[in-house]
């Protein structure tokens, strides 16, 4: 905990001068609640954090709310309704810094599979809705699930499905301090090597998205004898076709490669483009 508390107190001078602690708001859009739960999962740090900042709006945790503006807003979830598209603009206006937390807010989440569900590979939600609801016509939902950054300016995007709590603490403390969060954007492979894990692809021939995926989880899956499934999304500039070829050599067919690309970060640029390419060249 010490780093966050000291970072906040050290850099909270402007707030101290005005006699105010920085305010934090937490917002939810289409999501599973897991990323905001990560804040409550900081059991060792939570009360110390709460002592350094004003948690001004966090409905999952508190019925006491303070009106904006807020110094920092954490946004979980993707935009799937017209109402939410409007709401995120209002939240942007009352937020000093806006940070998205997790794959839904940063890449549209698993619910962004609708973005490719149409017969032409474009957005279509009707078939999905009919599978769930007897009266899909009364649903109020957009044919797309889009990341927050397609709607408003985002100061920082924190990856992960779910996010990592140490990264969350770093982003909150850095944002309050007015510095750039120290979040690596290299591939999972680096993190995996450093953790001492055996490469599951080289040693065991298991398909692994690690070479294309951003680090941050601590290389969890390889450490559990399983290939990475890309829940932190693509790192900067991955070589997707090369990884696709490697998957093919390991016996993964085109459908399997498509499914690997289309999960929690399906709408993130490199994963989306590779999947589009696979679909186009296959038909």
């Amino acid at each position: 905990m010490a780093p966050l508390v000291s970072a906040v107190s050290r850099t909270a001078d402007p707030f101290v001068r005005t006699g105010k602690r920085p305010t934090l708001a937490v917002w939810k859009f289409a999501s599973c609640d897991g990323c905001q739960l990560t804040l409550l999962d900081c059991e060792d740090e939570l009360l110390a954090v709460a002592g350094q900042i004003d948690i001004a709006y966090f409905l999952e945790a508190s019925s006491a709310t303070v009106e904006g503006p807020y110094d920092v807003s954490l946004v979980e979830g993707s935009i799937t309704t017209a109402h939410d598209a409007k709401r995120i603009r209002e939240i942007r206006e009352m937020s000093g810094k806006l940070v998205t937390i997790g794959a839904c807010a940063t890449a549209g989440g698993i619910q962004a599979l609708r973005n490719f569900a149409g017969p032409d590979g474009g957005p279509d939600v009707t078939a999905y809705a009919a599978a769930v609801y007897a009266h899909p016509e009364i649903l109020d939902t957009l044919p797309t699930s889009t990341p927050i950054s397609e709607h408003v300016f985002v100061d920082f995007e924190l990856r992960g499905c779910p996010i990592d709590k140490h990264q969350l603490l770093e982003v909150v403390s850095a944002t309050l301090a007015g510095r750039k969060p120290q979040i690596p954007n290299y591939s999972l492979c680096l993190e995996c090597k450093r953790s001492g894990a055996v490469c599951v692809m080289v040693a065991h021939g298991q398909p692994c998205l690690g070479p294309a995926t951003q680090a941050g989880c601590g290389a969890l899956c390889p450490n559990f004898s399983r290939g990475c499934y890309g829940c932190f999304g693509p790192h900067e500039g991955p070589n997707m076709p090369a990884l696709g070829d490697r998957f093919a050599e390991l016996g993964v067919d085109a459908d399997g490669w498509l499914r690997a690309l289309r999960t929690y970060n399906a709408y993130a640029g490199p994963f989306r483009k590779e999947a589009d390419h696979v679909e186009r060249t296959r038909s």
């Binding site: 739960l37 309704t81 698993i110 999905y128 599978a131 499905c161 399983r226 829940c231």
Partner: protein, 438 residues
């Protein structure tokens, strides 16, 4: 959010609008309309934007639902992983038994401890003690809240050892696990769990001392039941009215209705509203709680059946004691199985499963083809099943307290909803409370 009470729009009319109910997992709305001294209307409206999981599960590979459906709920991902694994294994004719079954139960105990401790300390206790949150509660009762967070953390630690992380664990697969836990890691959980069990016993005592409204509504309880254990991962579906059916018959008795005001579906059992969750499990399976958990319940003044929904917090605390006890039992008897998982080759078929999520029975059903492609999926989350009863509870609260000041009544209504630990993310969700008085 507690908006200020607006001026009465007309003589004899009062109305409250609250933007969203706090301290529930997800977002929904509650609408209450009162005309003079008559309650006219109560509706719990869940309008979490639908994410349509059953839609995009079609066409996925049968090995994927455990990871994909975990994303329905960040609070109870293990429940989704377990229900989907059991349902798909049933479709493929595979039964996971022995130590692998025990490890799954251990993982689930971790989720129960974490989720229940979160609800008791951070979401529910503040209602009884007049605080807006667990964080505010900590300003006056720091040691108590620290104990709650410590307890919650032990639940998370169990999930980290078994699953790799507490939210959306990565180590669960059809047939078992990707890798077995290391013996040293399991043994290292023993001391924290022993302490957690003491903390849980202290928690039961603490919450048993709260003041509870004196109500005892007659609700139908539904829970899994198993001859050999307090049911978590498997069993038959039972009610306290004598229904006892295999999970495969679930949909013959439980119907879901799509209600226009909500993106969740309302469920009934044989045409009657019913509830799931700790009160139901406790009533149906009390005899199978560990002796220590039973003793804690008796010391807390609970009978073998508890019908007061406000006392669900006490039953939840008793279940934490049980989950710690059970986790310790599993760790103490553990002997590593030969393999981390059984092979589950695909075959065309249909499989069903129910498991007990912290907030109640979670049903999954899948149909797959010979290649293992999912043709159809159906998921019935706990909160959707309890939704009609939650509305009934709110009705009772309003009828019994028509003379209360509107803001107090509103608080009691919100509390009546929180009694059920609703997970609206599961049911699809946005809890917005409006009380309209004329």
């Amino acid at each position: 959010m507690n908006a200020p009470v607006p001026e009465a729009p007309a003589a004899g009319t009062r109305r409250i609008d609250v933007e969203a109910l706090a301290r529930v997992e997800g977002e929904g709305a509650l609408h209450v309309r009162i005309d003079g001294h008559t309650l006219e209307h109560v509706a719990l409206r869940i309008y979490e934007p639908p994410r349509l999981f059953e839609g995009f599960l079609r066409g996925r590979h049968y090995t994927e639902p455990p990871d994909i459906t975990a994303r329905i709920c960040g609070i109870c991902p293990v429940a989704y992983q377990m229900s989907s694994c059991h349902a798909l294994e049933a479709a493929c004719g595979v039964t996971v038994d022995g130590q692998l079954r025990e490890l799954r139960r251990l993982l689930y105990c971790g989720e129960w401890i974490e989720s229940h401790a979160l609800h008791v300390y951070m979401l529910h206790a503040p209602d009884f003690l007049g605080y807006p949150s667990g964080i505010h509660l900590a300003q006056d009762h720091r040691a108590t809240v620290e104990m709650g967070l410590r307890l919650k953390k032990v639940g998370n630690d169990v999930m980290v050892v078994l699953g790799g992380r507490e939210i959306h664990p990565v180590n669960v697969r059809l047939g078992g696990f990707y890798r077995l836990p290391r013996l040293a890691e399991l043994r290292a959980l023993r001391e924290p769990l022993l302490r957690a069990r003491d903390d849980a016993l202290a928690t039961v005592k603490w919450v048993a001392g709260f003041e509870f409204p004196d109500v005892e509504p007659d609700r139908i309880f539904l829970a899994l039941s198993h001859p050999d254990e307090y049911a978590i991962n498997e069993g038959t579906v039972r009610t306290d009215r004598g229904l006892d059916i295999p999970v495969s018959a679930f949909e013959e008795h439980v119907r879901e209705e799509h209600v226009a005001r909500s993106t969740a579906l309302h469920a009934t059992v044989d045409g009657e509203p019913y509830m799931v969750g700790p009160l139901a499990r406790y009533a149906i399976n009390f005899a199978q709680l560990s002796p220590l958990a039973q003793e804690a319940a008796r010391d807390a003044g609970l009978g073998p059946v508890e019908r007061n929904p406000f006392k669900s917090i006490v039953v939840r605390a008793v279940e934490i004691v049980y989950a710690c006890d059970e986790a310790l039992r599993i760790i103490d008897q553990y002997e590593p199985p030969e393999r981390a998982y059984l092979e589950v080759p695909p075959r065309a078929g249909r499989g069903h499963a129910c498991t007990e999520a912290p907030r109640g029975t979670l049903y999954h059903r899948y149909t797959i083809n010979d290649e293992g492609i999912v043709l159809d999926a159906r998921i019935v989350p706990p909160t959707a099943q309890s939704q009609s009863v939650i509305e009934e509870d709110v009705r009772d609260v309003v009828r019994g307290h028509l003379d209360l000041a509107t803001d107090q009544l509103q608080h009691l209504c919100e509390q009546a909803v929180r009694n059920h630990d609703p997970c609206i993310s599961c049911s699809a969700h946005f809890l917005k409370l409006e009380v309209e008085r004329r």
